[in-house]
Symmetry: C2
Subunit: 396 residues, 2 copies
């Protein structure tokens, strides 16, 4: 962990202002900050309400240690004249501003893209919202769960024919995350194009629903050509067998991908079912798909006799791809995660030593832990530095 | 739809070579191509085996119409001298190359990053693999389902206490998609940093497991500080109520976020439960969380009497955020998707008129449909143009 930025990071020198709250815009700017950008997060005087979410220690948000890392924090009242003047000044020197207010809010308070770009024609303005800056739903409140539902993902995250329980959510804020990732890509792309020629900024319009919808593979095209409507497949894949998730003796689940001819043979040998291995009905993937329930039952009969970790070890010894469904403890303790430095130990001045997930980008010459320069700071921690050293306001 | 690239797209002029197959690397380069980059996809003489996946029409992959759009395709045998020479020449004029072979494969055939960067020191080499370029699991075969399981997501995509059915998969190739998105961001960032100073390329190492793991929010930090292990919450949220997904009369599900005080009151009025609205036990979110099963049963008793679309209309009229779980037909027909041009009608020379999901990036002056310049082409469709016009090889 280093406190100073390093020339080794690719976005060093990129200046970004965050007018963000909760997840989508702050996740976007955290990715940019992990890649080396200078990110100034503008928070209301009481701090981003996100800081009140989830576990707290000594009055400080645990998640914010990660979510706010590598950023500077200033507090401003955007409705005050001083707040508007400072935001305008920060945007005047920035490459990009990322915001996720409700559509129309920035315009209403006099900080719309046209105003900001009048001062800085090269400014890239990235806007993230639930449904986008136009269209009939633009004014609906944005909830991540609804983006996930409306974008088509929740319909698929289900076991077919199962009606006692609702389809579960993804378990993380997936629609906010996806929109934030796309926004980060769009921001850097717009900056690359601007710096290569023309020098003009852009206004970018990202939304949760279309970010989720973008992952629907060939489903829309199949629907248009054939009228097909993709239905959920649970833990299985309709076109490959055996591949599924199986119950183990310790109540945990084991995901097994045993669907190539060679892997199938090794899997059946391991579970003591050479009869099925040699069964001519099972010689091809097509035949195995036609008898997938029979194969799944045979595999589950074996996995039910073993704890998940033991079954996984045996199958890996037989070169059968598999993994139990890792919980966060499994991730933290896994030797591969350790070897790849995916679990970083960092000093947080507010929380003490904490674990951070490393950024998902490895690059030559930069260790993943070196990308974590500091942990999320208190709201307004950088007011003095930003207002006086960066904006050059005289000290009172 | 335009056949020629337009100066309006931000990555116009960025030259990318894809040595990719299946999903992760091709998804990365498709995002870059949608943003205007010139992407040359290098396929084996028989074509990317991905082309055989899923629905086919007239012998052509339907999904590939989307997955391969805006790219040029050339066919090369990477193990032949001619193939190696041409790949080297393509990389010598490129900004970036994106590959997703097994770790070590490119080095073994003499096309490793060191070789390619010796010809072009500015080349950005993005590598995507299941587990990364090092660490004890690097040689394991990469399956998307296993990345999803090992990265921590599948553990969370489940209904608590439910053991008859396995936790479902996300329903799409989420781990490949996430790695591809991160790779696209890392590539453009590395190019921006390179062009701003130094001119040196980089080698980027992305993997499915850490891309999924990066979305685990504050869980790792909470685990380190408190020993907590986040457990699945199904369709509910442990810290807010009522918010859940409810069964409707037509067998479909409706996601309702009714957990602010004001929305709660409107929701209870709509479903005819003013007794619960005025119940002092339910006056705060904390009280409602403590009685969430009682609230969920009251809401479900109402939703079960109505088809999902009708229940959604009634709740939206009462300003209660909700959405049924859209399937692809719902997406295709939704007026907001139409108004935002998220469902593009394009002419595919191989398939006829098809529907494409628009890129998830809207930007001023560029309609989403204008970002779809052409549909996925046949393997080798651009051999002549690329080898002779771009690489300048003499025609025989």
């Amino acid at each position: 962990m280093r406190r100073e930025s390093r020339s080794l990071l690719p976005l060093e020198g990129l200046k970004v202002v965050e007018l963000g709250h909760y997840i989508a815009a702050p996740f976007c700017t955290r990715l940019l900050a992990d890649l080396g950008a200078e990110v100034i997060k503008v928070e209301p005087p009481g701090g981003d309400p996100f800081r009140g979410w989830g576990a707290q220690k000594d009055g400080h948000s645990v998640w914010f240690s990660v979510h706010g890392r590598n950023k500077l924090s200033v507090t401003l009242d955007l409705k005050s004249e001083e707040g508007k003047r400072r935001v305008t000044a920060l945007c005047a020197r920035a490459d990009a501003v990322v915001e996720n207010f409700r559509p129309g809010y920035l315009e209403r308070i006099g900080l719309g893209p046209a105003t900001l770009q009048a001062e800085n024609p090269g400014l890239v303005v990235a806007r993230i919202s639930g449904y986008g800056q136009d269209g009939p739903y633009r004014d609906k409140p944005a909830f991540g769960a609804i983006g996930e539902a409306m974008g088509g993902l929740r319909h698929l995250t289900a076991n077919p024919g199962q009606h006692e329980y609702p389809p579960p959510r993804c378990g993380v804020s997936i629609s906010d995350d996806l929109a934030g990732m796309y926004a980060a890509l769009a921001v850097v792309s717009a900056c690359w194009g601007r710096d290569r020629g023309g020098g003009k900024g852009r206004v970018l319009d990202l939304d949760l629903v279309s970010s989720v919808f973008s992952l629907m593979e060939g489903m829309l095209t199949e629907h248009g050509l054939f009228g097909w409507v993709r239905q959920p497949q649970g833990a299985a894949i309709a076109t490959a067998a055996p591949t599924n998730t199986y119950p183990c003796a310790d109540g945990r689940w084991l995901c097994i991908a045993g669907n190539s001819d060679l892997i199938y043979a090794r899997l059946m040998t391991m579970i003591g079912r050479s009869d099925l291995r040699d069964d001519p009905r099972m010689a091809t993937n097509g035949g195995r798909c036609a008898h997938a329930p029979e194969l799944d039952e045979a595999i589950a009969a074996w996995t039910r006799t073993l704890p998940a970790a033991e079954a996984q070890d045996l199958l890996e010894g037989a070169e059968v791809p598999c993994s139990r469904l890792y919980d966060i403890k499994d991730c933290a303790e896994d030797p591969h995660f350790q070897a790849r430095h995916l679990v970083a130990r960092v000093q947080d001045p507010l929380l003490g030593e904490v674990l951070h997930p490393a950024p998902p980008f490895r690059m030559d010459g930069v260790g993943p832990e070196e990308m974590i320069r500091w942990t999320g700071r208190e709201a307004g921690a950088d007011n003095d530095r930003v207002f006086h050293e960066i904006l050059g306001e005289p000290r009172a």
